[in-house]
Amino acid sequence: MTSQISLLYLLSGALFILGLKGLTAPASARRGNYFAMAGMALAVLATLMNSEVTSYGFIAAGIALGGGIGTLIALKIKMTAMPQLVAILHSFVGLAAVLVALGTYANRAALGTLNTTLMWELFAGILIGAITFTGSLVAFGKLQAILSPRAISFPGRHVLNGALFLCMIAFGVDFVAHESILSLAMMTLLALTLGAMLVMAIGGADMPVVVSMLNSYSGWAAAATGFTLHNHLLIITGAIVGFSGAILSYIMSRAMNRSIVNVIFGGFGAQSADDAMEGIVGDKTVKAAAIDDAVFMMENASNVIVVPGYGMAVAQAQLALSGLLEALADKDVNLHFAIHPVAGRMPGHMNVLLAEADVPYENVIEMDEINPRFSGTDVVLVVGANDVTNPAAKSDESSPIFGMPILEVDRAKQIFVIKRSMKPGYSGVDNHLYYSENCSMIFGDAKEVCEGLVSKLKAA
């Protein structure tokens, strides 16, 4: 490789880092995206300058085809479907990594330049790529509701996965030692199976962690490919992406008070919701309220906080909430949105949905910052969120969600919860909030209730 190409790669890597650095604040984020685009363009150009690249037909066709499809999807996709898009894109990186590793193997074998180090690197590249590929496909299936979002768990699952893993390693070792194509094929198949099995066992509600984790895997897959090709740009970029996903997984797990290991192997979502529900719901009663009650309280309030959850996205209530912000602003009432890290189905999902609905980002506040403000808040409106508001996480040591950081809405003067029914959240735990003195339920569809609130506020 000539030094010009190496220098271009270095510049490209630096641009990627600057690109991510841009995401420190919304104001610099777009510039960051442009930096990253420039980095990618440079990387492709530099690679085309490589003397090993002699035919351009397939390359141009692939870029044109992929570029067209990618742009089209990106322009059409609904923001509520972002988790699915991200999952399928992760699977593409995984599959591409597998194909590149197999292609590199074929090319090097034809040249007779295989060596043990390269074989190990190829093994690692295929393994990570294949797990990323099928794992992401299953995650996509769950998010798109093609597959059941429930965690599929059965006795002996860990033993079976362990056995699959050991077999895969054994075939890998045989591949490295004897250059056996059969072992290569078997190893690839086993890695593909394992990827699907691992994600299959994770419940739909743990998706923020799964999406982050697969984001991380796709990075490691790129880095492993970098090792096989001795390409430092791939290594740098892969490592950064890998760490990015790992950090997000960590943040998400912490927000659920669970370890990453527990999320991956725990099968938490598989726990039968009925068991946990029993016995708690019985004797306590909740207060029901009408839209008019909430309107009255809100127009006489000075501070209102809305707590959105995935239910808001399902009901498409974000536009109505944006209208609520306007209606209250006209009456000099401050409205803020409180975001729990795991609200929605991927990290930061709520922020994007609210941004799309024209809610200014200054009004959208993260958990740690907004928690101290609840005690000075007159009205809290919970829209499609459940477990993240349950005070049992703080007070009830026997609760399965004890220790999970929550939005401390129970400290507000009055709480309204919009809910379709009394069904518990994904954890299957009954929400103690609903029975507290200062909480009332408004039963109904989130979108209809919010629209009702807005029209009555405007009329009032």
Binding site: R30, L111, N363
Partner: protein, 104 residues
């Protein structure tokens, strides 16, 4: 130092860079962070180009590696274009808010 060792050095240092940079990302932009890293991980296209463009005269497995490279390039391009464009769309939503935001 062997080439593999240098690669390992680069890898470990890049991990540190990733760690430092990503902790600085504001939580409200975590979704764009994922879509941007999605686009960036399309860097696998570099490997795909090297596979597809490999001098192909002297070997029997010509066709298959070129096809593999082609598919990999297509997939990586979907990632690159899809990732960047969707990130741009999202960031534009955050941007737009800035002007109207001050008055609220």
């Amino acid at each position: 130092m062997t080439e593999a060792m240098i690669a390992f050095y680069v890898f470990v240092l890049a991990c540190f860079v990733g760690y430092m940079v990503v902790w600085g990302v504001t939580p409200s932009l975590h979704t764009p962070l994922i879509s941007l890293t999605n686009a960036i991980s399309g860097i696998i296209i570099v490997g795909a180009i090297l596979v597809a463009g490999f001098p192909s005269d002297e070997m029997e497995s010509i066709g298959s590696t070129e096809i593999m490279g082609f598919v990999a390039i297509t997939l990586a391009s979907i990632n690159i274009f899809g990732g960047f464009v969707v990130t741009q769309r999202m960031l534009a939503m955050f941007q737009k808010k800035k002007k109207t935001g001050e008055t609220a």
